[in-house]
């Protein structure tokens, strides 16, 4: 369970998170929508401790992420994250990209890590690209590799930060299909996204962020069907 309690975060003068309260249960798929600069991506990087917070608390399975003495490296093993930029490691093949962390961080044997990597890469449809370098692949393939790389750590939660935003339109579908597959398998996911149709389909709940505030959170039918917040109505009207 991820518990977010009254989290505040500023970059200089700009307060990007103004007291966020949110709980994500095991097995839940939560999507976060909202305009640019609404704080949604920042929240994700606060959850895995890449960003600090100014006040409040984020607790993952009982571990306070930002408490002194928390072993963030250990915590991050259970929090997979995929970014807008694919961040493929260009000097490693696809297989090596996925095997690196399980070997170096989890201490798995090469054989063990390779078996896991092949399984995850096959799962995201890259079983035939094992020996290829990322520069030879499309953005959609690189992004699916990044997903497999995160999954190879056997995380309990997956965080997706606008993973289709840097893709050419014709490549968005293959990445969203991968996310749909994970959701249907019961993976606990928080997806920051601009893909409304996708959010509507896969989410248990959808949260709308506006100017650092979570203005509304509801199951997709309610949020998209009968929005209450005025800013959400404007936002939805603009995206349709």
């Amino acid at each position: 369970m991820i518990e977010i309690e009254n989290v505040r975060k500023s970059f200089g003068q700009l307060e990007v998170l103004k007291g966020i309260n949110l709980t994500v249960e095991k097995g839940e798929v939560l999507t976060i929508i909202g305009g640019s600069g609404s704080g949604k991506s920042t929240l994700l990087t606060c959850i895995n401790g890449l960003e600090t917070i100014d006040s409040g608390r984020i607790v993952v399975d009982g571990t306070d992420v930002h408490a002194k003495g928390t072993d963030l490296n250990k915590l991050r093993r259970k929090l997979g994250i995929v970014f807008q930029q694919f961040n493929a490691f260009p000097h490693l093949t696809v297989l090596e990209n996925v095997m690196l962390a399980p070997v170096k961080v989890l201490g798995q044997s090469k054989a063990e890590a390779e078996a896991m990597a092949v399984k995850q890469l096959t799962h995201v449809g890259l079983g035939d690209k094992l020996k290829v370098y990322p520069s030879r692949m499309s953005g959609g393939q690189q992004q699916r590799m990044a997903i497999a790389r995160a999954l190879a750590m056997s995380p309990a939660y997956m965080l997706f930060d606008e993973v289709t935003s840097a893709l050419d339109p014709q490549l968005v579908g293959e990445v969203l299909d991968t996310l749909r597959m994970l959701a249907s398998e019961g993976m606990t996911m928080i997806c920051v996204t601009h893909e409304m149709k996708f959010a509507r389909e896969v989410s248990d709940r959808v949260a709308f962020f506006h100017k650092g505030v979570m203005a509304e959170i509801a199951p997709p039918e309610a949020l998209f069907g009968a929005p209450k917040d005025a800013d959400l109505k404007t936002f939805l009207a603009a995206t349709h």
Partner: protein, 221 residues
Amino acid sequence: MFSYTFHWNQALKALPQMLDGALVTLQIALLSMAIGLAVALALTLFRLSGNRILGGFATAWVEIARNTPALFQIYMAHFGLGSFGIHLSPYAALLVGIAFNNAGYLAENFRGALKAIPETQTRAGRSLGMTSLQAFRYIVMPQMLRVAFLPATNQMVWAILMTSLGVTVGMNTDLAGITQELNARSFRTFEFFAIAAVIYYLIAKAVTLAARLAAARMFRY
């Protein structure tokens, strides 16, 4: 006017001796590069550590190595340290002096290469649970070495040429040292130094070519 008579035979007879010297030259250059690379990596980590003392130390090293004559650096290793009772042989002093110089230039070279690697690479590594040292070791460093590889070959060539400064601290087993001694005995200055120059040139070219081939093999991505 032009009354010098060439005596190439005498010089060519000494060729095997000079080639033995060339091996010593190559050995010093390679060792100094190996030490220089290791130290430059350490200096790079010092600079990245955020620790002011370590960072200051690294900056001081780079500044001195790059902004003082290599000749002085080798002199210091021999006569300078000698004043404090640390006596290095000409060989060791030459090696230390060139390694000091190499480390400074290579560290600066690495700093430039690091700028070519996006910060998001480190973030991706940290997100997978790596420590900052692991992210550097497995993700950033290999990419940095690739960017820095060809500029580093220049330093290797420079290291080969710098070994000739060893004559100033009494080095007499490398190519320059042997050439100097042959010259002192025979006064066939032009012939000996011309042959030595050709040998330096060929070593430098061979190293550059080998580096290009190695790069093509190593960096396939």
